[in-house]
């Protein structure tokens, strides 16, 4: 089960109105077909493309943001599938016949998959990658959203302006006593520990693992390690922890559902990116590139941002984003100098040994 990576799968809680709106009529089956009359027209008329993502409200936003407009404009038929499961995807690729054409993957899988030659190269004659901030463009994939690990905290636990402001505060048991939560994953936890220990952002890589684990030792006993995003939300909403590491979108979601005593700190946030990739030898590669191109438009990205508070990779999209949503977006220009983008070139080489060390550290 790939539950740990379903970072936006809000699927357990979809309110009825949203569900009805999203499923409206025949689209409930996940099939967005163009009407018969239009089928003869359009660049990809009648062609099929299978889009796999993480389900729930996230995939619904992607469906509305770029799958449906793509189907409408080009006559292609977009079939929704998922949730993404890397074990399953790897198995599909080994068989040589993947059943997914476009897949939403996290940055670490993009890099490890690229190293294992799992993806088609992005066809830049179809996909206008110039629309996207070059930071989020890779040979094998195009970034569709940016999300981040932030310091989240509860104003019902820490009161009167005595709020945590940095990762240093997460490790400060005197100033912020009580239990805290950490992500049960070596990255971003080592970056966070080093930032807390005073390492400047541009000196984080290569990771000084000994130093990071030593820092983590200081709060290990007071920490709860979360593996799914619903868990991180639950822990903070219920006051089981007062502060900790959480993904920005999940805190936004909790606040929107009524937990208005929760707050997010943008100082030292750790950015990560989801990419759209085309699995090697996917049956509908050409149409797949067309769909990815649709995703790069500012309209598509603004739509996803407005629905889910996920930050656009196309800088022009910001003009179309609601003012109420802007403060929650990692690529907000106001936060530009506050964040750290994980170095996946480093992690591709070191994830395995450091993950083993992380597991060992937890057990010891």
């Amino acid at each position: 089960m790939n539950d740990t990576r379903k970072h936006f799968a809000h699927c357990l809680i979809v309110d009825r109105r949203q569900f009805l709106a999203a499923s409206g009529g025949g689209a409930a089956l996940g099939l967005i077909g163009s009407p018969h009359s239009a089928r003869a027209q359009g660049k990809y008329a009648g062609q099929k493309v299978v889009f796999a993502s993480w389900g729930g409200a996230y995939q619904d936003a992607q469906k509305q943001g770029f799958c449906e407009p793509f189907a409408k404009e080009t006559g292609a038929i977009v079939i929704q599938d998922g949730p993404v499961d890397y074990g399953k995807l790897r198995a599909m690729l080994e068989s040589g016949k993947p059943s997914w054409d476009v897949v939403d993957v996290t940055i670490e899988f993009l890099y490890s998959g690229a190293a294992d030659n799992l993806f088609e190269k992005i066809d830049t004659s179809t996909v206008d990658v110039k629309r996207i901030n070059p930071k989020y463009v890779h040979e094998d994939g195009v970034g569709d959203i940016v999300w981040s690990y932030n310091l989240g905290y509860s104003r019902s636990v820490y009161k009167d302006g005595n709020y945590p402001r940095s990762w240093g505060d997460l490790f400060d048991l005197q100033k912020f006593p009580g239990r805290r939560m950490l992500r049960d994953r070596v990255s971003p936890m080592l970056e966070i520990a080093l930032l807390a220990d005073g390492v400047p952002p541009d000196k984080i890589y290569p990771i000084a693992a000994d130093r990071a684990f030593k820092k983590l030792d200081t709060i290990k006993k007071q920490s709860i390690f979360w593996t799914t995003n619903s868990q991180s939300q639950q822990l903070l909403v219920d006051g089981e922890v007062g502060l900790g590491v959480i993904i920005n979108g999940r805190l936004y979601d909790a606040v929107k559902k009524g937990a208005n005593y929760l707050a997010l700190e943008w100082n030292q946030h750790i950015q990560s990116v989801d990419y759209l990739v085309v699995p090697r030898n996917a049956p509908n590669r050409t149409t797949a590139m067309g769909l990815i191109n649709q995703m790069t438009t500012k309209e598509a990205q603004a739509k996803v941002a407005n629905l889910m508070a996920l930050a656009p990779t196309n800088p022009d999209a910001f003009a179309l984003v609601d003012d109420a949503v802007k403060p929650w977006l990692a690529t907000n220009p106001d936060y530009a100098n506050k964040g750290l983008l994980t170095d996946e070139n480093y992690w591709t080489r070191n994830l395995k040994p450091l993950s083993e060390r992380w597991a060992q550290w937890k057990l010891s």
Binding site: N2, D3, G87, S112, I224, S230, K352
Partner: protein
């Protein structure tokens, strides 16, 4: 399951219509034995032929620790299920028809919701500001909240809740067929209730004990999401590491090797238990 095992163990399969199991056998071969077999083979063949994956496991203390954890947690869960499930199964077997139906229904209710939902429910119930702690503090039973989740207690509670029916049902299946005249005869010959239970009822229910124990223990070994959500940092189980090897690293070889070690463990457990069973049956 219990009846099927009893039937096979009694040697009844010989000369009977073996072909009746053919459809099930073919299904198992194609959707279970073949894929599992190829995964196990990869433990020896990837990235090259040899024992490298097993050496890698042996060299990393984390895998051995997680394996030990898995056996200890699964064993504790089995023991708790047995101690709690035996009296329950006994009550069901002794109850009248209507009460019996009600009790079996109660045992089966947990099957109606997903493991994930039940695990989250325990998280909410057991946490420091959760219902149970608030009730206990309200009644003055404790001053400070007791930590019952994100540690071993949480894992055990969550897993016992899910696995208890797999202990109770095989026990019940055996107990309900125990002829009451045996215990009556023992009593009429002067055996005390305790002696009667120890010398007559328990040996007669032993097949159910063994079936339930094997079932719960083996199912517990593969647990994944419950220890991740309800456990603390020290409660990592082997299935979590196997999943990571496949999904994060694409290391089918190491994942396969871990699966082999786990399967060998299960195989040895089975062999030992069936041996004890044979001894019990001989008596």
């Amino acid at each position: 399951m219990a009846t099927a095992l009893a039937w096979v163990n009694a040697g009844n399969w010989r000369g009977r219509s073996v072909w009746l199991v053919a459809p099930a056998l073919i299904l198992l071969l194609t959707i279970f034995i073949y894929p599992v077999g190829s995964l196990l083979l990869r433990s020896l063949s990837e990235p090259a032929w040899g024992l490298q994956n097993f050496k890698a496991i042996a060299a990393q203390p984390v895998y051995l620790r997680a394996l030990a954890n898995t056996v200890v947690i699964s064993g504790s869960v089995t023991l708790i299920c047995l101690v709690g499930g035996y009296p329950l199964a006994y009550s069901i077997a002794q109850a009248g028809r209507r009460l019996r139906r009600l009790l079996i229904f109660a045992v089966l209710i947990p099957f109606w919701s997903s493991i994930l939902v039940r695990t989250f429910a325990w998280m909410v119930l057991l946490q420091q500001r959760g219902l149970i702690n608030r009730i206990m503090m309200g009644l003055g039973l404790t001053d400070a909240p007791i930590v019952m989740v994100h540690n071993r207690i949480g894992v055990l509670v969550g897993m016992v809740h899910i696995l208890l029916p797999f202990m109770v049902l095989p026990l019940y299946a055996v107990m309900v067929r125990i002829d009451k005249t045996y215990t009556q005869a023992a009593a009429s010959l002067g055996a005390s209730p305790l002696r009667n239970f120890w010398r007559v009822y328990l040996p007669l229910s032993a097949p159910g004990v063994i079936n339930g124990t094997v079932l719960v223990f083996v199912m517990g070994l593969g647990y994944f999401i419950t220890p991740a959500l309800l456990g603390g940092p020290g409660d990592t189980m082997i299935a979590q590491l196997i999943e990571q090897q496949v999904a994060d690293f694409g290391q089918w070889g190491i994942a396969g090797a871990l699966a082999v070690v786990l399967m060998l463990g299960v195989g040895v457990t089975f062999a030992l238990l069936f041996r004890t069973r044979a001894l019990v049956a001989d008596k």
